[in-house]
């Protein structure tokens, strides 16, 4: 049967439809982020007027809802930096929580990557049955959800007397096998000949690692570091269980509390919290994509 429309036209139509669908999806994807940002430029008064209905009864029963609709607004009536001024200059509490997040996440990211590079070198340079078994158990461990690893973490922090301190999150974070797995996969792709040539030239194993392996893995390490960073920047479970003191809570946990109280400021705090992640995304999207690509496929 001959089609009434030419093949070319049909293909063009299909592409257009696909594009429109993808466009709608893309808009839906960035909508929550964009809304958070635009709302952060409203005055506290405008926020309360729009979302006031949410605050009062967040903890109460449905019946007591004020008969007032929430008004999701895109564009502020008047662009104002009032929320940011309050968050950044008038209430040091928020900045303190932000700092809490930083001193948890940055050490974990940096040391996890450095340790993982050393370990991955060990896994990729030397092979053997026992090592394969160990590597496989790292994969299993990596795939375990928090519900499994949190109880052991809690126990060991208790024994070491670090329960309730930042170390209870930082130390297990540093030894998390996630980046070991990814970096091993990357390093196994480096041709053996590179290493052997260096050894023949008289380089020690340490020199081979520092001067050949690491430079070749620089972008991979950045990519994996980015993934580790966003994972921990997002954390909620570990602080709730392992940190005793609310003063130590990172901003991610703290945000859930202002969401029900201080709605007028919450958007600005939310934006402050996403800025590091968004900046990393703007500058490192390619690294992010590269990192995700490394993580594909379970086999080494």
């Amino acid at each position: 049967m001959k089609h009434f429309l030419s093949r070319r036209f049909r293909e063009g139509l299909a592409t257009t439809l696909l594009f429109l669908l993808a466009l709608v999806a893309a808009i839906l994807f960035i909508m929550p982020t964009v809304l958070t940002i635009t709302n952060s430029f409203m005055t506290e008064k405008e926020i309360t007027a729009n979302y006031g209905a949410m605050i009062d009864n967040a903890t109460q029963d449905k019946k007591t809802y004020i008969a007032e609709d929430l008004n999701l607004k895109f564009i502020p009536d008047r662009v104002s930096l009032q929320q940011f001024a309050t968050v950044l200059f008038k209430s040091p509490d928020y900045l303190l929580k932000f700092w809490n997040s930083v001193i948890l996440v940055v050490p974990i990211t940096v040391f996890q990557i450095l340790l993982a590079a050393v370990t991955a070198y060990g896994f990729s340079r030397y092979r053997g049955r026992l090592r394969e078994i160990i590597f496989f158990s790292y994969i299993i461990l990596m795939l375990m959800p928090y519900q499994v690893t949190l109880v052991p973490n809690y126990l060991v922090s208790d024994w070491l007397g670090i329960l309730g301190t930042r170390w209870a999150i930082v130390l297990p974070g540093i030894f998390s096998p996630f980046s070991v797995y990814l970096l091993t996969k990357v390093m196994r792709r480096i041709p053996k000949a590179y290493y052997e040539a260096a050894r023949l030239d008289g380089a020690s194993e340490l020199q081979v690692f520092l001067q050949i392996c690491l430079p070749l893995c620089r972008s991979a390490m950045l990519s994996v570091g980015l993934l580790v960073f966003i994972d921990y920047w997002n954390m909620v479970e570990q602080p709730l269980i392992l940190l005793g003191d609310e003063d130590q809570y990172p901003l991610s946990v703290f945000l859930s509390q202002i969401n029900t109280g201080d709605v007028g400021l919450a958007f600005a705090v939310a934006v402050v919290y996403m800025i590091p992640a968004l900046l990393l995304f703007l500058y490192g999207e390619e690294y992010l994509v590269e990192g995700i690509t490394y993580s594909g496929g379970v086999k080494g």
């Binding site: 994807f29 958070t36 370990t119 109880v151 052991p152 973490n153 945000l255 995304f281």
Partner: protein, 304 residues
């Protein structure tokens, strides 16, 4: 046998063996720091967790066999958490795999603005969930945006967060967060499908659906497996969203496994905690094992 010097020979092998040994030791040296850390922070305490799971309590330490596990299966909170997590995973994991595969193919086709679209899809991955949870609250609130929109079509308002509709809320938040990651995995897998095979198939008159089902999907099967595992694991992590959305005690259909763990942590019931952790670990190992077997069965003829 010509006259080799036996003394020299043993000396050589001795030196050789010594060097081998030293290299072996050096090889393990690279792994040692990480091995110690993993042992101390994960493996050893997990062994203790297994030990706790078969005791009546840590102080008297009577062996009670599987009693803690059977008690767990009679615990209504645990059963509810398992049921909710299972329902949620069954809904959201297949959706996540199918949608992200579709997005990957869309971004591999000839549409304009692909790099912009990719950035949009990836953006949620970077944005901390705590930052956008407010917007989700406004959308899904009883007096919120979604109900205002459905009211335009004459539908009754629904309390999305505090009814069984909360599965939908969870699924939306889950897909929003995970689709970009999965899409990238699929995109790189699609780029790895050999072009010549598809060209040959097309030359022989295979339609788009045929090449998709019989060639592309076959090459993608290891990635589909991997994405499925990843999605199942991230579906277990959904506690985050729910906690930020509605705190420690959400509506009952949002009460997930991690809520059960958290609330048990508060009462420090080691037996419940450790038997639940062991049970989940066993379940995960079985799940990963099954998926590995499936991959081996379907993916072997296309792997290099």
């Amino acid at each position: 046998m010509k006259g080799r010097d036996p003394i020299l020979q043993t000396q050589v092998t001795k030196a050789h063996r010594k060097r081998m040994l030293r290299e072996q030791a050096a090889g393990w040296g690279w792994l040692l720091p990480s091995l110690i850390g993993v042992m101390v922070f994960f493996i050893l305490p997990f062994c203790v967790v297994i030990y706790y799971s078969v005791l009546d309590n840590p102080i008297f330490a009577h062996f009670v066999g599987l009693q803690n596990f059977t008690a767990l299966f009679r615990n209504t909170a645990f059963l509810r958490a398992v049921k909710n997590t299972a329902i949620f995973s069954v809904i959201s994991v297949p959706l996540s795999v199918v949608l992200s595969l579709w997005m990957a193919f869309a971004l591999n086709s000839k549409i304009p603005g692909k790099s912009w679209l990719r950035s949009c899809f990836l953006c949620p991955l970077m944005v901390p969930i705590a930052s956008v949870v407010l917007v989700w609250q406004v959308i899904f609130h009883y007096h919120g945006t979604l109900n205002q929109v459905t009211a335009l079509f004459g539908l009754e308002p629904v309390d999305w967060i505090k009814s069984n509709w909360s599965y939908l809320v969870l699924t939306v938040m889950f897909l929003w967060k995970t689709l970009g990651y999965n899409m990238i995995l699929f995109m790189s897998a699609i780029a790895g499908i050999p072009r010549d095979i598809i060209e040959v198939a097309e030359l022989e008159g295979a339609g788009g659906w045929y090449t998709f089902l019989h060639i592309k999907l076959r090459y993608l099967s290891p990635t589909i497996l991997f994405v499925t595992i990843l999605s199942i694991i991230s579906s277990f992590k959904m506690f985050r969203e729910v906690y930020l959305l509605s705190g420690d005690y959400p509506y009952q259909s949002m009460y997930l496994l991690q809520h059960f763990m958290n609330n048990t942590f508060n009462s420090l019931d080691y037996q419940k905690l450790s038997s639940a952790a062991v049970l989940l670990a066993v379940f995960m190992v079985i799940l990963i094992g099954i998926l590995f077997l499936i991959e081996r069965r379907f993916g072997e003829d296309v792997e290099e």
